[in-house]
Structure formats: structure tokens, C-alpha cells
């Protein structure tokens, strides 16, 4: 996003990869535990209750959703909202499209970032600093303001309602490049020079030495990229009009239009579960990488 943001975060490193486990100085007293727990529980409930409500509602029948007499738990757990979502819209297609766009897009983006960062750190070529600044400045350009010209360009190349039309425009990655450049710069030059003397080419050095030793940083970039590709909305919304090419967030908009009125809430909750749950599961297991990546760059493209 911004030069300073990144510079600052790298210097001050708000959240390090080793996460914020504070060293405990003494055993907490009972009163501290109670006093400390109350706010913690309140905070967790604030986050969890809306999501829990989503999950529970997605299993309720219409009669339990359109009622003034709400109950937390569904009386009859029902999959009708899920089957309805798949019936009124090609939800299977949405899901597969999202998986495809995310996997292909994120893979290419990470590969591009790795290679660019390697070149910026270890390869001698002219105007390197100028190019690095150009990448940095690109971080400051909000993707939203580029929507219209990119639409005109991609539509002009018959990219409407195509996978490449969805994926390609966001492939150029300044965020990943910047984060990995920082990581690569911390590697000892001597290690790579020794390999160079032994006759290892750039690609060999990159994949046998640099990538394995900076795996945590690459994981961070990969996870942040995956999550942002999965959630991406405005570009796929504009570039797809054919439901068969829509990703989940765009498909949900379609579902919302088709299911307007309170009767559609159950189906919409089912749709929301399908788009939210995968990210929540990934986050639950790998949160320390994702939090580190997002708070370091505080940008997702």
C-alpha cells in the first residue's frame, strides 16, 4: 500500500513471525484470572456470535427464519438451504471457479514474487534501484482505481467471462515481491557466493538454497495471497456476467438478487458459510503466518 507503511512495519515489525507469546513472569492470582477473563470472553463472543448465528441459521427451515419467535438452535437440522442454494444458482460451479482462480492465481503470484525478489537481491542488472522503486510505488496504487482501464483492456481482448480475464490482471505482485525481498536480503551473501563458485546457476541457487531457507516468509506470502484471491470481489464482479464463470463472492451477489426478501436469508446464510468457512479453517491452523503477513504489509494485493 504505501512506502512508509512498509518501511515502518519492517523497522518496527509490529508483529513478528514468532507471535506474541508473552513471557509469563509470575503465576496469575485468581482475581487477576477472573478480571482478565471477563473482557477476553466478551471479545471472543463479539466475534464468534455473529458467525455462530450464520452457521445455525443455515441449518434452519424457512419457518424458523421468518418468525418473531427466534430460537438459537434449529429445531430440525435441515440441509434445505444448501440444496436450495445449489438449485437456484450453480453453486458447485462458483465453488470450483473460486478454487481454480485461487489456486492458479496464488501459485503464479507467489512464483512471480519469488523470482522478482531473487533478481532484485542477487542478480546484477542495470537500473535495479529504479525498478525497485517502481515496484514500491506500485504498492501505493490502490487496485480499485485501475478497474475501469483494466476492464476496457481485458474486454477488448475478449477476456470477458474467461478465467484468464479474472486471473491475469491481478498477477503482478508488489506486496509479495517487497516482503520476500526483505527476507532474501537477510540471507548471508557468502553462502550464495560459494554456490556460485561451485557452478550453481541462478535457478539452482534460488530453489536449492534461497527458497528452503526462507520457507516461513514464502508461506506467509502464499497464505495472504490465497486468502485475498479467495475473497477478491470487485474485479471478478465486473469481468464476469456468465454465472458459469463467477467466483463465490460474485455468485453470492447473484444469489442475493435471486433470493430477495426475508425468505432467502436461510439460503444466503448457507452461501455465506460456503465462502467463509474454508478461510476460517485455514486461519485457525495457520493464523500466525497470516497475521504476521497482513500486519507487516497491511495490504493484500
Amino acid at each position: 500500500m504505501s512506502l512508509l507503511t512498509l518501511k515502518r512495519s519492517v523497522e518496527a515489525s509490529p508483529v513478528s513471525l514468532s507471535t506474541g507469546a508473552t513471557p509469563r513472569r509470575r503465576r496469575p492470582r485468581l482475581s487477576t484470572v477472573l478480571g482478565g477473563y471477563l473482557p477476553l470472553v466478551a471479545i471472543v463472543l463479539l466475534v464468534a456470535l455473529p458467525l455462530l448465528w450464520m452457521v445455525l441459521s443455515s441449518f434452519k427451515q424457512v419457518s424458523e427464519i421468518i418468525t418473531l419467535n427466534l430460537h438459537a438452535l434449529p429445531r430440525h437440522w435441515s440441509l434445505v438451504n444448501y440444496t436450495e442454494a445449489f438449485r437456484t444458482a450453480p453453486f458447485g460451479r462458483f465453488f470450483l471457479n473460486s478454487v481454480l482462480v485461487t489456486v492458479v492465481g496464488a501459485t503464479l503470484k507467489v512464483l512471480l514474487a519469488i523470482h522478482t525478489a531473487y533478481a532484485l537481491v542477487f542478480v546484477r542488472f542495470p537500473a535495479k534501484n529504479v525498478i525497485f522503486v517502481a515496484v514500491l510505488v506500485a504498492l501505493m496504487v490502490p487496485p480499485q482505481v485501475a478497474i475501469l482501464p483494466n476492464y476496457v483492456l481485458v474486454a477488448g481482448m475478449n477476456g470477458l467471462n474467461t478465467y484468464w480475464g479474472i486471473i491475469v490482471p491481478s498477477l503482478g505482485t508488489a506486496f509479495g515481491t517487497f516482503l520476500l525481498r526483505q527476507a532474501f536480503r537477510s540471507l548471508p551473501m557468502s553462502m550464495l557466493e560459494a554456490a556460485e563458485v561451485d557452478g550453481a546457476g541462478h535457478l539452482a541457487r534460488l530453489w536449492r538454497m534461497v527458497v528452503p531457507t526462507t520457507a516461513p516468509s514464502i508461506t506467509t506470502v502464499a497464505l495472504v495471497t490465497i486468502v485475498s484471491e479467495w475473497n477478491e470481489y470487485i474485479w471478478p464482479l465486473i469481468i464476469t456476467t456468465d454465472p458459469n464463470l463467477m467466483t463465490l463472492p460474485v455468485g453470492l451477489t447473484l444469489l442475493q438478487n435471486n433470493e430477495s426478501g426475508p425468505a432467502g436469508y436461510g439460503v444466503m446464510m448457507a452461501g455465506a458459510v460456503i465462502v467463509i468457512l474454508p478461510v476460517l479453517v485455514v486461519f485457525a491452523f495457520l493464523q500466525r503466518y497470516i497475521v504476521a503477513g497482513l500486519t507487516a504489509g497491511s495490504v493484500s494485493n
Binding site: P14, R25, Y37, H115, M140, L153, N231, I276
Partner: protein, 278 residues
């Protein structure tokens, strides 16, 4: 090795900036083969229209409210998390979680919660004998609703960054102050808060920039854009809505870009002089 990425960045990041400026000088319907040059006409039209006042006010209110809300609440949450009770790490991850979720999914969930008749919020209000505000019909209430959800989704980011800031405060200095008889509130007001200056500034700028770019949540929760036309929403509606006014939309995008880049430059110019205490 760097070439493919650089070409892509050039084609889809830099090229659009220039093209936007060019398009903004045209009276041009999206998809039409002909366009007439109108110079600064689109800018004049935007700034002299009734819509401009509304759009700029909405953008400002949304930015100030979401930034203020998520930073103040984020700081409070960070203070609550800055303890040594077990389970803090789980709460820290939990409060961050909404930040990584799809804005579309989150928007749908909260639309259901806010429904004035069948929503759980209306249900709770009824229990207390109150009636639910008509969130979907009143422009101001719609904006309040969207701001609330945006803060819910983003406060975890501020909390985690603030928590890291709190944990990096010099423990010996804080303890010395405590021994000298400075109470919790005094230590917070006179020591923690000033020492957190750089963190606050970092968050201020990043959250302003991202709130000016907020789209998915706003689009899903208020599909008619009543009460919630921020600059980015206006650019979208004008360009890709019923009228397809590409030139006009490009002009609004340029205004947004100038705003964002100005903020960025201010931050770069000011940060190192203004916010360092330690």
C-alpha cells in the same frame, strides 16, 4: 527473472493510472466506439453536481467513523489482551479472524442480523420493549449499519498491531513508574499512549487508506447505494451501473487516487519528524 512481474505491474497498475487520466477527459459511454473530448468537463460536472457534496460527505463520514471506531475499540481490545492470563493467544487470533473473511459473506450475515423484523438484533430490542430502527430504508441508518459492520470486521487488525506495540513498551520504565506511585490510568495516559505514537500513526494512515477503498461490504449491504455512496462506490455505479459513463467514472477514480496519494505523501513527509518519542 523479474521481467514477467514487471510487465504485469506495468500493464495492470501503471498503465491504468495514465489511461484513467485520459478517459477522464472524454464524454464516453462504456463499450461505445465514439467519444468526444470534453477536457475537464467531467471534473466540473462532478464537483458542481448535487451528488458531489453527498458523495464527499459520505466518504468523509465513513472514513472518520470507521477509522476512529476501529482504532479506539482496537486499543481497548489490545489493553484487555495485554495480560498474562492463559488463553490470550486464542482471543487474539479470534478477534483478528473477521479481518480475513470475505466482505461479501460477512455483509450477508450482518444483513440478516440487522433485519428490522426477522433479525436477531430486532428480536433482542423487542425483548427490551424497543423497536428496531429501519436500517434498510433510512440513508443515515444504512450508513451507520455499514460503519458498524466495517468496524467489527477491522478492529481486530488494530487490536493486534496495538497489542504488539504495548508489548514492546519498556517494561522496566513502566515498573519504575508504578513504584513511584503512578496509577494505571496515569501510566496509560502519560506513558503508554505517547510511547504508542508511532503505532497510532501507522494505524491511522493504513486504516484511512483501506477505508477509502472499502467496497465489497458496502456494495452487498446496500445494493441500492442509498446513503452509502462513497467515492469508490460512485465510480463503480457511474461506470458499470445503468449509465456506463466511463469518462465520468474515470474522473471520480482520478479524484480518489489524488486523495489517496496525497495522504500517502503526507505520511511519508511527516512521520519521522512528528511521531517519535522514544
Amino acid at each position: 527473472m523479474a521481467l514477467p512481474n514487471l510487465v504485469l505491474i506495468g500493464a495492470f497498475t501503471y498503465r491504468p493510472l495514465i489511461m484513467n487520466i485520459y478517459y477522464s477527459t472524454l464524454n464516453w459511454t462504456l463499450g461505445s466506439a465514439t467519444a468526444t473530448v470534453v477536457g475537464l468537463g467531467n471534473y466540473v460536472r462532478f464537483f458542481s453536481s448535487d451528488a458531489a457534496g453527498t458523495v464527499l460527505t459520505t466518504t468523509a463520514v465513513f472514513a472518520v467513523a470507521t477509522v476512529g471506531g476501529s482504532m479506539v475499540l482496537g486499543l481497548l481490545v489490545a489493553l484487555a489482551l495485554n495480560t498474562n492470563v492463559p488463553g490470550t493467544n486464542v482471543a487474539r487470533a479470534g478477534v483478528f479472524a473477521p479481518y480475513v473473511l470475505s466482505g461479501v459473506g460477512v455483509g450477508l450475515v450482518w444483513l440478516f442480523i440487522f433485519d428490522p423484523v426477522y433479525g436477531v438484533l430486532a428480536y433482542v430490542l423487542r425483548r427490551f420493549g424497543a423497536e428496531s430502527p429501519r436500517w434498510f430504508n433510512d440513508p443515515t441508518l444504512s450508513l451507520v449499519m455499514v460503519i458498524t459492520v466495517y468496524v467489527w470486521k477491522n478492529l481486530g487488525y488494530c487490536a493486534v498491531v496495538y497489542l504488539a506495540g504495548l508489548q514492546s513498551l519498556p517494561a522496566d520504565v513502566m515498573e519504575a513508574a508504578a513504584l513511584d506511585g503512578a496509577g494505571r490510568l496515569r501510566r496509560f495516559g502519560y506513558m503508554s499512549l505517547p510511547l504508542l505514537g508511532p503505532t497510532t500513526f501507522f494505524l491511522l494512515i493504513t486504516t484511512i487508506l483501506s477505508s477509502l477503498q472499502a467496497f465489497d461490504l458496502i456494495r452487498i449491504m446496500t445494493p441500492t447505494s442509498q446513503g452509502t455512496r462513497t467515492l469508490i462506490y460512485e465510480a463503480y455505479v457511474q461506470g458499470f451501473g445503468a449509465y456506463q459513463r466511463a469518462g465520468y467514472s474515470a474522473a471520480i477514480s482520478v479524484v480518489l487516487f489524488v486523495l489517496l496519494i496525497t495522504l500517502t505523501i503526507i505520511q511519508i513527509a511527516w512521520v519521522d519528524r512528528k511521531v517519535h518519542y522514544a
